[in-house]
C-alpha cells in the first residue's frame, strides 16, 4: 500500500470516529448511573452497566410535574407522524398527478405557488396557524399538528411526485382515456402502481421531517400534548437543578431511535429525498 492510501484511510477513520463520538457518548452514558456521571464527567466508561435508565426514561422519571417518562410523548409523536406522513404523501401524489399528467389551465402557476411553500420560513406562518387552529378548536391537539404538517408537507410531496410523474409518457394516459378510464381509475390503476419508488422516498422524507420537527410542536402544544422533540427541551430545562444525565441519555436515544432506524434501513431513499427537496 502506498503512503497516500495510508493517509486517506487514516483521515477517513479519524473523521468517522469524530462523527460517532456524540452518539457513542450518549450510548455509554445511558448505561451509567447519573450519580457516577455527576461525580466524574460525561465521558467515561461505566464502572458497571446499568440498564435501569431505560425503564426510568421510558415511563417513570419526572418532568414538568408528571412522572410518566417520555412514553406519552413518544406516542404523541407517533400519532402525529404516521397519519400526517400518509395523508400528505397521498395528497401529494394526487396533486402531482393532476399537475403533471392530467393537466389543466394554469397548472404550472399553481405548481410554482405550491413549491414556494418549501422556501417560505415557518416563522411567516406561525400567527396565521394560531388563528386557524383556534377557529377550528384544534389548539393544543395532535390533530392540529397533523393538519399543519399535512398542509405544509404537500409542498414537498407534490414536488417529489410531480417530478417523478413527468417521466411517465403522456400517451399512456391518452390510451387509458380512450378506453374510457377517468381521473380516479387512471390514478388508482396506472399511476399508483408505477409510484412505489417515489412514494418510499416521500414517506421517509416526511416521516423524519415530521418526527424531528420542533418549532410547531413547542408553539402549538403544551404539557401532555407535546411531541417528543418539544418535551425533550422542556426536560433538559426542567432538570438543571438535579441532573439525571443517565436517564436523560436514555431518553434522548429513545427519541432518536425511530428516525435512526428509518435512516439505517432506508438510507438510499433518505438521501434521495434530502437532495430532491434541497436542490429545488
Amino acid at each position: 500500500m502506498k503512503w497516500t492510501r495510508v493517509i486517506v484511510y487514516a483521515a477517513l477513520i479519524i473523521l468517522a470516529l469524530l462523527f460517532l463520538v456524540p452518539l457513542g457518548i450518549v450510548v455509554v452514558n445511558s448505561l451509567r448511573s447519573s450519580r457516577e456521571i455527576a461525580a466524574t464527567s460525561l465521558i467515561g466508561w461505566p464502572s458497571h452497566l446499568i440498564f435501569a435508565n431505560y425503564g426510568q426514561a421510558w415511563n417513570r422519571f419526572c418532568m414538568a410535574e408528571h412522572c410518566w417518562g417520555i412514553e406519552p410523548y413518544m406516542l404523541n409523536s407517533l400519532t402525529l407522524a404516521i397519519p400526517a406522513t400518509i395523508i400528505s404523501t397521498l395528497l401529494g401524489a394526487l396533486a402531482g398527478y393532476s399537475i403533471s399528467l392530467w393537466r389543466f389551465r394554469g397548472d404550472q402557476f399553481v405548481f410554482g405557488l405550491v413549491t414556494l411553500g418549501i422556501f417560505l420560513p415557518e416563522q411567516m406562518k406561525l400567527i396565521p396557524w394560531v388563528v386557524v387552529l383556534r377557529e377550528l378548536s384544534l389548539m393544543n391537539t395532535i390533530a392540529g399538528l397533523i393538519l399543519i404538517h399535512t398542509v405544509q408537507g404537500m409542498s414537498f410531496t407534490t414536488l417529489f411526485c410531480r417530478n417523478y410523474y413527468v417521466g411517465i409518457p403522456q400517451d399512456l394516459l391518452k390510451a387509458a382515456r380512450i378506453d374510457g378510464a377517468g381521473f380516479f381509475r387512471i390514478f388508482w390503476r396506472i399511476i399508483l402502481p408505477l409510484s412505489p419508488p417515489i412514494l418510499i422516498v416521500t414517506v421517509i422524507f416526511q416521516f423524519t421531517g415530521i418526527w424531528n420537527e420542533f418549532l410547531y410542536g413547542v408553539t402549538f402544544t403544551s404539557g401532555g400534548q407535546q411531541p417528543v422533540t418539544a418535551a425533550l427541551i422542556a426536560l433538559s430545562a426542567a432538570i438543571t437543578s438535579e441532573p439525571i444525565y443517565g436517564e436523560q441519555s436514555a431518553a434522548v436515544l429513545i427519541a432518536a431511535l425511530p428516525t435512526l432506524l428509518v435512516y439505517l434501513f432506508g438510507g438510499r431513499y433518505f438521501l434521495r429525498g434530502l437532495t430532491a427537496g434541497a436542490v429545488k
Binding site: 395528497l91 415557518e122 400567527i127 380516479f184 427541551i233 439505517l264
Partner: protein, 314 residues
C-alpha cells in the same frame, strides 16, 4: 306493441339520465380532487405570507388588532439589542457554518472518491447526524461543551488542572459552538452532493487528463472541481438558507445565551411573538427574515433559470 316500444325507450331514457348524473357526479368529484388539495396548499402559502405581512403593519399585541401603524413595528424591532445582535450573529454563524461545512464536506467527498473500501459504511456514518433531530444533537453537544461535565472536565480529570474549554458559557465565544455543532450536522449533506457531482464527471474527460499526465492534485484542481462548480453554488445556497432559518439547534444548544449573545433571527421572531406577546413586532421580524432569505435565494433562482435556458439552447 307500440306501448312496449315506448316502454323500452323510456327505460333507455331513464338509463341515460342516470348515466348523465353519474358522469356529472364523477366530474364534480374529479374537479374537487384536483382543486381542493392544490388550492389549500397554494392558498396557504400566499394567504399566510400576506397575512403575516399585514399583521406586521398593525398594532397587534397579544391578539391581532388590525389598526394600521405603518412601519412603526419595523423601527421598533430593528432598534432592539436582540435584533441587532441576531443579525451580527447571523453573519458570523452563516459564513462560518457554510464555509466550514463546505470545506469539510468537500474533504470527505474527495477522500471517499479514492475508491476506498467500506465506502457505504463510512457514508452512513458521515450522514447519520442528518437523520436525527437538532433537538437531540444540540442537547448532546450542550453536554459535551458544558465545562463542568464535558471535555473541559475530562481533560482536567486527566491532570491538566488549568485546561479551559468553556466557549459555551462565554458570551463572545458561544456563537462558535453553534458553528461547530452545525458543521458536524451538515457536513455529510455537503459531502453527498459533492460526491454525486464528482461521480457524474465525464469519464473521458478524466482519462484525457490522465493521459496528459495530470496527478491527483492537479486532477482535482484543474479538471474535477472546475467541472462541478455549479454544485458549489447549490450547496452554498442551501446551507446559507438553513443557516438563516435555523432554530432548533440554537434553542437546544445555547437557548440564545449566555444572556442574548447567541440570538439568531428565528429566536427574535419567537421571542417577540410568544414570550413578549407582541404579534405586530414579531411579524415584522418574520418579514425581515423572509427578506434576508429572498436576498439570498432570488439571485440563485435567476441563476438556475439562466442555466436552464442555456442548456435548452445548447
Amino acid at each position: 306493441m307500440r306501448t312496449g316500444l315506448t316502454l323500452v325507450a323510456a327505460k333507455q331514457d331513464a338509463g341515460r339520465e342516470q348515466g348523465v348524473w353519474r358522469r356529472r357526479f364523477v366530474g364534480v368529484l374529479t374537479e374537487l380532487a384536483i382543486w381542493l388539495p392544490l388550492s389549500v396548499s397554494a392558498g396557504h402559502v400566499v394567504l399566510f405570507t400576506a397575512w403575516t405581512t399585514w399583521v406586521s403593519f398593525t398594532a397587534s399585541s397579544l391578539m391581532p388588532d388590525y389598526t394600521w401603524v405603518g412601519l412603526r413595528n419595523y423601527w421598533a424591532v430593528t432598534r432592539t439589542a436582540n435584533f441587532q445582535i441576531a443579525y451580527v450573529n447571523l453573519v458570523i454563524f452563516g459564513f462560518g457554518f457554510v464555509l466550514l461545512t463546505m470545506a469539510l464536506g468537500l474533504l470527505l467527498a474527495i477522500l471517499l472518491d479514492q475508491r476506498v473500501r467500506g465506502e457505504n459504511v463510512l457514508r452512513t456514518i458521515f450522514l447519520y447526524p442528518l437523520a436525527v433531530s437538532f433537538v437531540v444533537t444540540g442537547t448532546v453537544w450542550s453536554w459535551l461543551l458544558n465545562p463542568g461535565l464535558g471535555l473541559q472536565r475530562v481533560v482536567q480529570n486527566l491532570g491538566w488542572q488549568d485546561f479551559r474549554f468553556d466557549w459555551l458559557v462565554q458570551s463572545d465565544k458561544a456563537i462558535y459552538t453553534l458553528i461547530f455543532a452545525g458543521v458536524w450536522q451538515g457536513a455529510g449533506f455537503a459531502m453527498a452532493l459533492f460526491l454525486a457531482g464528482l461521480r457524474s464527471v465525464d469519464a473521458d474527460l478524466v482519462k484525457a487528463a490522465q493521459i496528459d499526465g495530470a496527478g491527483p492534485w492537479r486532477m482535482y484542481r484543474r479538471v474535477l472541481l472546475p467541472t462541478i462548480w455549479p454544485i458549489f453554488i447549490t450547496v452554498f445556497v442551501i446551507l446559507l438558507r438553513s443557516a438563516i432559518t435555523s432554530f432548533d439547534l440554537v434553542r437546544a444548544l445555547t437557548g440564545g445565551g449566555p444572556g442574548i449573545s447567541t440570538m439568531l433571527p428565528t429566536l427574535v421572531v419567537y421571542d417577540f411573538m410568544f414570550q413578549r406577546s407582541e404579534l405586530g413586532r414579531g411579524s415584522a421580524a418574520a418579514v425581515l427574515m423572509l427578506l434576508s432569505l429572498v436576498v439570498v435565494m432570488a439571485p440563485y433562482g435567476l441563476y438556475v433559470r439562466w442555466q436552464r435556458q442555456r442548456q435548452a439552447r445548447a
